[in-house]
Symmetry: C2
C-alpha cells in the first residue's frame, strides 16, 4: 500500500494497526529533528495529557485560528477527520512533518504528506487546540431535522454551549463568526502556526472547509507568571490580572469543566469533563480615534497608567486596584466606567477568565483606516457565568466601547486531551495513524 | 510651546532649531532603552547612510508594508510629512518612541507622541524604507493638469519609474496596487513593524492616507550569505540564487542607480542617484491545488528538489544549475518551463535582482481556500532591464504560473539615505524634529 494513504487526503483511508510499524519506519525528515542545543524556538509542548495544550500553556507570541464548517453529514467521515487531525497535531507539535511521507522521501508520483514550508523550522512551541461549535450538535440557529442533528450529537450538547446573546455594540459578520469546528494554532513563529492550519485544512478536504481564520501577531495576555505583560493596540498593558497557570486552584475552579456539569440540562455531556469553553471575539479597535484622545482620557477609560500599567488608585502594575479610593474631588480614582473596574472579579461575582488573546491587523478599509484590533480569546468553565454577564455589563457601561466594535464571535466546547501514551507510534517512535487510534473528542462519539 | 507640537499631529508644526535642545531634554522612555546585553531582538540598524536601510540589510523575519495616497496638493505639506517621517523613522529604528512625549511623561491633556504598543519591545532589527510612486510625479494614469503634476515634480520623474505593462496572468486589484508613497517596515517582531507603520500613518493624517497594506509573516529571501534559505508556501526553498549583500560588485551593478541615469529621458532625476527601485507584486498562490500535485510535478516545475533545494541537474543547494544537462530520455534535467531555468541570469541577459519578499496569509475566500501567497519584493537598478523582461517571460512560459495569480502591483523609486550625522539631535542625543532637518528624498524637492 502507498505511504500517502496514511493521511488519506481525500478518502479517509487509514492503515490497520498491524501496518503502522512498517509505515512508521519511513525516516523522519532530519531537518525537523530538534536541534541538540534547544533555543526558545526549539521549545516543544506535549500534545497529550489530561487537558489539551494551548490553554494553560504559556501564551506563545503568534496565533493562527481557523473555524471550519463540516461539509459532510457522514458521521464516520467526521470521526475519520478528527482521527487524522489528532495524529497530525501530535506530530506537528513535536516538530515533525504532518505525515511520514516528507519531501525528502518518495514516492515521487504522489503529493507529499506535508506541504513543506515549515520543513527547516523548529517546533517554535507549537500547540494545536481543537473545539466544537454549537452548530455541530444542533445545526445553525433555526435548523430543523435532518440538518439540526446531522451527526446524532443533539443529545450530547453541553449546557454551556449556548447561543450567545446580542451585546450592545456588536456588529457581527457571519463570515467571521461561529463554525462547527475550531482549531487554535499558537507558536512563536507565525509560519509554523500557519503551516499547521494549512495542513489540517488540507486533510479536511471533502469533509470540512475553512469558514474563517484569524492571524494574530502579538499576544495580549500572559498565562504564566514567568511572562512579561504584553500590550494591546491601545498601547496599554493587557492581562495584568489575567488568570495564570500557576494559580492552580483558580484554574481548576474557573477553567476546567467539572464532572457534575455533565448531566445539567438533560443532555449527556460527560465527554466534556476536564475540558473547557473557548470564547472568541474579534474586536476591531478604532485606533485612529483613540490615538487622538488625550493621555488623561485614555488612562481614565482603562483605569491604569499607560506607562507602568499601575491602577489609578496607586501602586505599581501588580498592585490590586482600590476601587473605593477617591481623589480630592471626591470622585473614584478608578472611574465608574473604567475597564479595570467593570472587569474586576469583585464586580463580577468573583469570576475569572483565562484570557489568551492576540493583536491583529488585517489591512485597511476604504478610508485608509487600519482594520486592527484584538482577537479576544478566553477559556472558561462556563460561558453563562464567566462571559455573558461580564460582557453584558462591559458592552453597556465600559467607556472603552466608544473605541471598539465586535465584528466576529465564536463559542466552542473544548474537549479534554488525549491521554499520555495513548497514541500509537511507528517503529521510529513518532505518532502514526491507525484505524483505531484515539482522537480528540472521542468520548463525544462513544 | 507644547512638546506634542514636535510631531505636529494635524498641523504640520515644527519647532525651530533653537528649541530643539530644550525639547530633546525630555527623558526618553526608559523602557525602550536597549538591553545592556543585546539579544537578536535587540539588534538595531542605523537609519542613516549613503543608502536607505532595509535593502541590503539582512532580511528580517517580518514585514508590514503600506502604500499611501497623498491627499493634499500642498507641496509644503508633503515636505513637512517627509520631514516628520524621517525623524520618526530615525527614532523608532533605534528602539525609541516615535516622538519624545512618551506615555510615561506628560502632558496628560494631549495625545502621546507614540501609540505605545511597542513600548516594552526592543527594536527587533526594525528598518523603515521609503519610496515614491509614479503617480506622485505625473498623477494617476491618464491624469491631466493640474492633477498630473500636483507637486511640480513632473520634470523630476526618473526614466525607470514606468507604468508596468500588463503581464499574462495578472488580475490586479487597484485597491492593492500602486500608491504615491510606500513605507516598508521590516523587523523580527511583527508588532514592532506594525507599530512603525501605524505611527507614520498617524503622522500623515490630513496629508496622506493608507491605500493598501500587506503583512508578511515569513521572509522568502535571504539577502546575506549568513542567512539560511527560507521556504515559500509551495514548500520550496526560495532565493537560493538571490543577490546577497556580500556580493558588493553585483550590488553596485544591479541595485543602486548610477549617476549617469540622472538625465536619461530628458528629466532631472539626479535626486535618485544612489537610490534604487522597489518592485512589489502580491502573488496569490493556489496552495490547495499545488498541494494535490505530485512531488515529481512540483520539483519539475520549480527545477529543484523539494527537500534539499538542489537543482535537478544534480549537486546540493548552492550548486549552479546545469541547464544543458539531459537525462536518459534526452530531455533537459532542468525542464524548459521550470522556474529556475526561466529566472536564471543566463536566460535574462545577466540581470540579477535583490529579492526581499515575504509569505502572507490574509484569511480565506468564500470557498474556504486560503488567501495566501508571496509578496514579491525586489530592489533593482532599473525595472525596465531588471524586472519587465523577466516577468514577461515568466508570466508566459513558467509552469508555476498555473498555480499563481498576481493580485497587486507597485513600483516605487527609492531615494538614497539621509547622510550619517545629518539629523539634528536633542540634548539626550536622540533625533528631534526641526524646521530645517534633512529628510528622505530631500533632493527631489530641492
Amino acid at each position: 500500500m502507498s505511504r500517502r494513504a496514511l493521511l488519506g487526503l481525500g478518502g479517509g483511508l487509514v492503515v490497520g494497526a498491524a501496518a503502522a510499524g512498517a509505515a512508521g519506519a519511513v525516516a523522519v525528515d532530519a531537518a525537523r529533528t530538534p536541534d541538540p542545543a534547544p533555543s526558545p524556538a526549539d521549545r516543544t509542548y506535549p500534545f497529550t495529557g489530561a487537558h489539551q495544550a494551548g490553554i494553560v500553556t504559556p501564551a506563545q507570541d503568534r496565533l493562527y485560528l481557523a473555524a471550519f464548517d463540516v461539509t459532510t453529514t457522514d458521521r464516520d467521515a467526521l470521526v475519520d477527520l478528527l482521527r487524522r487531525w489528532t495524529v497530525m497535531a501530535a506530530r506537528m507539535t513535536q516538530g515533525l512533518p504532518a505525515g511520514p511521507f516528507a519531501p525528502a522521501s518518495g514516492p515521487y508520483d504522489a503529493p507529499p504528506d506535508d506541504t513543506g514550508e515549515a520543513a527547516d523550522l523548529p517546533a517554535a512551541g507549537l500547540t494545536i487546540t481543537f473545539g466544537f461549535g454549537r452548530s455541530l450538535f444542533v445545526g445553525a440557529p433555526g435548523a430543523t431535522a435532518p440538518d439540526a442533528d446531522r451527526f446524532g450529537l443533539g443529545g450530547r450538547l453541553p449546557a454551556g454551549l449556548v447561543e450567545l446573546p446580542h451585546f450592545a455594540g456588536d456588529d457581527l459578520d457571519p463570515a467571521r463568526s461561529d463554525g462547527d469546528l475550531v482549531v487554535q494554532a499558537c507558536a512563536d513563529d507565525p509560519q509554523v502556526a500557519v503551516h499547521a492550519v494549512r495542513n489540517l485544512s488540507r486533510a479536511a478536504f471533502g469533509t470540512a472547509r475553512i469558514r474563517w481564520t484569524q492571524l494574530g501577531y502579538g499576544r495580549t495576555s500572559s498565562t504564566s507568571t514567568a511572562q512579561r505583560t504584553p500590550r494591546n493596540l491601545f498601547g496599554f498593558k493587557d492581562g495584568t490580572a489575567n488568570l495564570k497557570a500557576e494559580e492552580t486552584a483558580d484554574v481548576e475552579t474557573h477553567v476546567w469543566v467539572p464532572a457534575d456539569a455533565a448531566t445539567e440540562g438533560g443532555t449527556d455531556a460527560a465527554w466534556l469533563t476536564g475540558g473547557t469553553y473557548l470564547v472568541a471575539r474579534r474586536i476591531r479597535m478604532h485606533v485612529e480615534t483613540w490615538d487622538r484622545s488625550s493621555l488623561r482620557e485614555q488612562e481614565a477609560l482603562v483605569g491604569r497608567t499607560k506607562g507602568e500599567g499601575a491602577p489609578l488608585s496607586g501602586g505599581t502594575e501588580f498592585t490590586e486596584p482600590d476601587l473605593d479610593a477617591t481623589g480630592g474631588d471626591g470622585k473614584p480614582l478608578v472611574a465608574l466606567d473604567s475597564h479595570v473596574r467593570l472587569a474586576h472579579p469583585t464586580q463580577n461575582d468573583g469570576v475569572r477568565m483565562l484570557r489568551r488573546g492576540y493583536n491583529f491587523t488585517d489591512g485597511n478599509d476604504a478610508l485608509g483606516r487600519l482594520d486592527a484590533g484584538l482577537l479576544f480569546l478566553a477559556f472558561v468553565v462556563d460561558p453563562r457565568t464567566h462571559f455573558v454577564p461580564m460582557q453584558t455589563r462591559l458592552s453597556a457601561q465600559d467607556g472603552l466601547m466608544e473605541y471598539l466594535v465586535h465584528t466576529g464571535s465564536g463559542l466552542f466546547a473544548v474537549p479534554p486531551g488525549v491521554p499520555d501514551g495513548a497514541l500509537p507510534t511507528g517503529s521510529d517512535g513518532t505518532p502514526v495513524l491507525t484505524d483505531d487510534a484515539p482522537f480528540i473528542g472521542q468520548a463525544l462519539f462513544a
